[in-house]
Symmetry: C2
Subunit: 105 residues, 2 copies
DNA sequence: TTCATTTATCGTATATTTACGATGAACGAT
DNA sequence: ATCGTTCATCGTAAATATACGATAAATGAA
């Protein structure tokens, strides 16, 4: 008879899956690049470089903010976003760990 | 999704987003680990280690197969899956490139 | 105050994902 | 040939994701 399936997933697995989910749309990958390339990280500048409506970009920003990859700072009537390098490093570390675990590199 | 605008992004961005999507569920991350840990990579063994029904595991395997991260080989009435190391390396390379681009590590 | 600008959120439509039981197809064994 | 095993696929339901226009909230400027 089958073994009992009590095993849940580990915290690391859930966390990394969530990070990957936030990177699972090209617009969000591009947003991270834009935030790095531009001096300014104002929302309007990001919208200008994406083939998406402002409301849609706002949703993508929200998703990146949800997992902590970016942070928003209010700047007058604008909002200035930037990448959280600390979390980026953590994400890379976890990804490297996964790739090592599954026998790559 | 109404209309997909993924064609407006670069090939690399779309490809990497797709890889991340395939890693965006803890079950699929765990499947990759199981395939590495076990000698056998038969579907039944994978199902035994996941808190999910066989049909659901089969769907997750399909998603990993879709992006090429795993391959299935028919072995009598069974199917033996294994990780495609070549694609794994490509994925890691693209991820490293992204992290470098956005100023991490 | 009033107006224009900026961004988040609401409402909504549709697509996709996730999950499961049921079923079908392929195979080895009896 | 029939049976049991193994796995993929079908059918389906609920949740989530994606996209947009419209609107609200907040701010600075006139």
């Amino acid at each position: 008879m089958p073994v009992s399936k009590k095993d849940d997933f580990t915290k690391d697995e859930v966390w990394l899956a969530d990070i990957c989910k936030s990177l699972s749309h090209p617009a969000r990958i591009k947003i991270l690049k834009i935030l790095t390339e531009l001096n300014s990280c104002v929302v309007g500048s990001i919208v200008d470089q994406l083939p998406l409506a402002q409301a849609t970009v706002s949703q993508h920003l929200k998703e990146l903010k949800r997992v902590g990859l970016i942070e928003g700072e209010i700047d007058g009537p604008r909002v200035c976003y930037c990448v959280d390098n600390k979390l980026l490093i953590k994400a890379k570390k976890q990804l490297d760990k996964l790739f090592t675990t599954i026998g790559c590199c």
